[in-house]
Symmetry: none
Subunit: 195 residues, 4 copies
DNA sequence: GATGAATGAGGCTTCATTCAT
DNA sequence: GATGAATGAAGCCTCATTCAT
């Protein structure tokens, strides 16, 4: 990749970051291309040099978030760790990632409200990939006898729901820091599976 | 209340229902006054006879939803039931209400994205009232020794997050009916508190 | 049709007239919705109340023009007139209509530059209907021995081309009035067919 | 002219050809500088090295077309040929040129829609030069008794209109080749002048 | 000479809102 | 009470044009 291309790639990421943070704050529909550009001291026109349209920007940003999440989870899954610690780590990283990126949009919102056609398929597919990782961990835990026998799908969704909800209430609760909070939540959620 | 007023009140509720269902499907910003009116075979102009503006319609609809939820929870709290059963019933009713109304908006979204000033205060206040009920149940459970000692705030938010997330994935999971599903979820969530 | 509907229909026609005259002057792409509205002392928004979008306005206006032309030609064809006089009348009316409406767009421009899909089909179909009328007249003239044997398609297109070109040069030639000019042109064109 | 200048001149012609072909297909306003550049595997920026702006490119391209047409017609006029054959050859070459270049734009569209000021003057002047040639041929034919007495201006415009219209319908009529078609059309048009 | 990047004006379109009837 | 009609602000997007490298 040439220097030019690297710069362009960097710019794209900046724009995505800008979009992500404003979408997290205002929601997708209330976010204007003007907002996204202004935050980077650019003009609207420039954003359109890098992204075809608003939908394209949304799609790319969500894709990036999901791919990062998947990378996070796969990295943990490839480690040699006891199943319990593994699942907990997955949860902690998920929550920390959410809080850092200030957006639960990628995992939280109904994708069919924002995507259609091929984009929808791709987003759904990425989400499923992520979900499957969690399912696998739960299944492994059950098999190995460390976890209670549970309905995997339901418990996975309880976990996802509880985690994604964090960004709705985190800011107003300053008593614990990010990491402590993530630990706490994951501890509580593990109780569904253990004992 | 005169007959005329009753009729108007009924109409208002119809409009709110229409708004609620479309917002649940498309999101607030993507919902137009036209949509809301068309669903009732009305014209936009008529809606403005009953509601000052779109924001007013949103506010009233969310308020209604929250007040209904609070009524639901208070009704249960006033009953003579063992604490465990009480909390479970609260959860079951919450989930069923969500699925029936097809909207987790009221409890799920960050209110400051949609409200400001007095409206925001009122919405927050209603939400807190609801949250406090759950907190109270948890606290009672702990005091009476039926529940483990937990951080009330965190566990309450785990419960809310897990429950509100249901509408994101319910439709795609037809294996259980509404009530069964609600039971399952509440069972799992109770494990956080019991043993 | 109610009074309301009549008024709306009238308004639509006014807008179409406005669009037609500006398109005739500037061309389609250079014509803005602002222009069309301003000419009628309306705002852009109002135009959108009557027409879905710019393309819709273009389509409806061209359709109207073509339908009017077809009505003109069919009216003449249904009369009891010698074939020569019939064809001449068709030409005269065509030219006068063109000059009056100040637009040769409908018959002159390549439709695939402006329409696609169903709209294109409909426009082509209307044009063909018009062309077929002329073809029929030519064929009848040949059959009855009043016209020379010619390639109908080519001669029809010569006639159409010559007539439609009038609006490109009419204004700069004030020596003859509309009707005289139309007569002259049709006389000359008939020489292709007679003797 | 230096080698460098020659190269630049060649490039300019390539760009003009590209512009011409796209304008013929889409119309001027729908043609973007991007389109013109892309067809030559250039970037927009490069086009601006050779042409001041889009208007300049349009002007130069139309001028080139007109000058070529004038050269064509003057070449024929300077030949020793019977007047009838001369006019016919003019028509045939005109039609073939049109079909080859796929654009009737230069002769067909109202110049005041696209040009103003000095450019408009120059374009009009070139067109007149072309028109005058045809007028002269008609006048000579009349004088020499080979042609009927006709209103020169009107007949010239009939001829131009009929010829320029060819590009609107040629492609859909594959039965005759370019040259045959041009012959046919000119034969028919000559009937206006002869006998 | 060429180009990637940026700009800004302008046009299309949507939609909450108003109001006369 | 209801509605057809109108409005205007705001947002999306395109594209001619410029310019540093």
């Amino acid at each position: 990749m040439s220097l030019r291309e690297k710069k362009a790639e960097k710019k794209k990421k900046e724009i995505i970051q800008s979009a992500l943070s404003i979408i997290a704050e205002k929601g997708y529909h209330a976010t204007t291309m003007e907002d996204v550009a202004a935050k980077l001291l650019m003009t609207k026109g420039s954003v359109y040099y890098y992204f075809k349209d608003k939908q394209d920007l949304l799609f790319k940003s969500q894709k990036m978030l999901l791919e990062q999440s998947i990378q996070n989870i796969e990295e943990i899954m490839s480690k040699e760790l006891p199943i319990i610690e593994k699942l907990q780590k997955v949860m902690v990283v998920h929550i920390e990632f959410l809080i850092t990126e200030r957006t639960g949009f990628a995992m939280g919102a109904r994708p069919d409200q924002f995507f259609a056609g091929d984009q929808l398929q791709e987003i759904i597919s990425l989400r499923q990939k992520y979900s499957h990782c969690i399912d696998k961990l739960i299944a492994q835990g059950i098999e190995s006898g460390y976890f209670n026998k549970v309905d995997t799908k339901i418990v996975r969704n309880i976990i996802l729901g509880a985690m994604n909800y964090v960004i709705e209430w985190y800011s107003s609760d300053g008593s614990k820091d990010k990491n402590e909070l993530a630990k706490s939540i994951s501890d509580y959620l593990l109780r569904i599976l253990i004992n």
